[in-house]
Amino acid sequence: MNAISVKDVWKEYDGRVILENINLEIAPRAFVALVGPSGCGKTTFLRMLLSEERPDRGSITIARQPLPAEPGADRGVVFQRYSVFPHLTVLGNVVLGLELKAAPLLGRLFGSSRRAAEDEARGMLAAVGLAGSEEKYPAQLSGGMQQRLALAQALIAKPKVLLLDEPFGALDPGIRAEIHVLMQKLWHERPLTVVMVTHDLSEAFSLGTRVIAFERRRNEPSDGGRYGATITRDFAVWPKRIAGEPRPPKKKSMPGRDDPVPLTGPLRDDPALQGDAP
């Protein structure tokens, strides 16, 4: 299926080695969190998975196919900023993915096909908790809602692999916890392999099935940049998270600082979370 295989990948910029000797097998439906200090090349690695950069050595395959030379609809992405288009409404941002697929010449749909696309987009917006904001522009949304929109926009194209580049890094802790719950729900419900770059360890462990740390083994000024970062830690998160089999939430008397708000009671204001807790 959509397994990702990274073999012996190196990347250099201007003679400085950024990544060296990266070997990684990512199982289908995994949720991999990449962590590491700033400048350790985790975003560079994600950009290679996006085909925004090419490895200098080694190969990357998805579902045993070599990675295409440019970004495509098989891999969705959410960035920390600038993920959504400021000139389109919330609905327009999500419909766009369907329009681009269906109308190669004009990139727009009209009449009944447009209404069908809008209905599908409204369903996706409801799933991420943005029902009722369809006609707003992204600049009118809070940071958390913009990232929800970015998720809806990426998922409407039905990617096999979802790449997240510090998607929740700029959000307040409470908002971040809510969007974590949403992210888990979306991952359980859809056939996605997720690779997420983050610098927040607790986020990595509370979302991922596997946490991978990038680090430079040597980082002396005298090395002249000839040693890059590589994978130094590879944890399987325990107890195991299995895609499509959400665990019941832990029973706790008081939620922690970064925990989701309680799913019942007066604090529950997240329209995305209907029915059972994920």
């Binding site: 970004p71 993920s83 681009l100 600049a139 009118q140 194209a157």
Partner: protein, 273 residues
């Protein structure tokens, strides 16, 4: 309180905006009064009564020789040249600007060429235009296009380059082709920015228009000013200058309103960008 922290009340602010206009007016009236008291037939600073007479003659009376209302004919001729030239320049600016800003092959091929061309002084090309295109409308329109279009091209290319690279990646992950990215992502975000740079180019466009009309023309606002200059007819020239200023100012305001109405997302997106 420090001066930087003192703010006028809204009414006071409006009054302050009027002050420089009133001051200029008063200075003119004083100067005109002094000169006219020394020599009642002085032509340099005519009185408001002679302005009124000249405006009436140019704008409300039919000219005896041609049978036209001169101000109307002049305005029509000038605006036709100006709008035709601006339309052509905008089309060139959009197409070349987007192509240069978005496509690396075209940026490599055309970027420095446009940068060099935009440094050619357009008025130095005017004789060439008159020689090759004749003295008709084409050469005047061409002069304005040559003066305005390179700036628009460069500005649009810069604005396209300023779009966050994440947007292009995002569009590609939604399956967009280059053409679809132009149509749905780049063009709609470029248009409001194009209006900004068009507003800045209105001044130069009028400059080139009046220069072309002054040198060889049979109608137009610039033609009239330079024609009546021979008779020291300040009573005609000054109202014409005021009229041209008003037209340019109205075009500027109209573009600002168009930008706000047609692109309601732009103000907030620019503030949060």
């Amino acid at each position: 309180m420090r001066l930087i922290n003192r703010r006028p009340a809204p009414g006071v602010a409006r009054l302050l905006a009027l002050v420089p206009f009133v001051l200029v007016m008063v200075a003119y009236l004083i100067g005109s009064g002094i000169r006219l008291s020394e020599n009642p037939s002085d032509k340099l600073l005519p009185s408001f009564a002679s302005f009124a007479a000249a405006i009436d003659r140019m704008a409300f009376q039919v000219d005896q020789r041609t049978g036209d209302i001169l101000l109307l004919v002049d305005t029509e001729a000038s605006l036709y040249r100006l709008f035709a030239a601006l339309a052509i320049a905008v089309a060139i600016g959009l197409v070349l600007g987007i192509v240069i800003g978005l496509l690396p092959y075209f940026r490599a091929g055309l970027g420095s060429f446009v940068a060099v061309v935009s440094m050619v002084p357009p008025l130095a090309l005017l004789p060439i235009l008159f020689i090759t295109m004749g003295l008709g409308e084409a050469s005047k329109i061409a002069l304005i296009v040559i003066g305005v279009a390179p700036c628009l091209v460069r500005d649009v290319a810069l604005r396209v380059g300023d779009l966050p690279p994440q947007q292009s990646i995002k569009a590609q992950t939604l399956g967009a082709s280059t053409w679809q990215i132009v149509l749905r992502v780049v063009l709609p975000q470029t248009l409001p920015r194009l209006i900004d740079s068009l507003r800045l180019q209105i001044g130069p466009a009028w400059l080139f228009l009046i220069a072309a009309e002054a040198i060889a023309s049979e109608s137009g606002l610039g033609y009239r000013i330079f024609l009546v200059r021979r008779y020291l007819a300040m009573d005609v020239i000054l109202p014409y200058v005021a009229w041209i200023t008003l037209l340019a100012f109205l075009m500027d305001r109209a573009l600002a309103i168009l930008q706000r109405r047609a692109f309601p997302w732009f103000e907030a997106a620019r503030a949060s960008g």
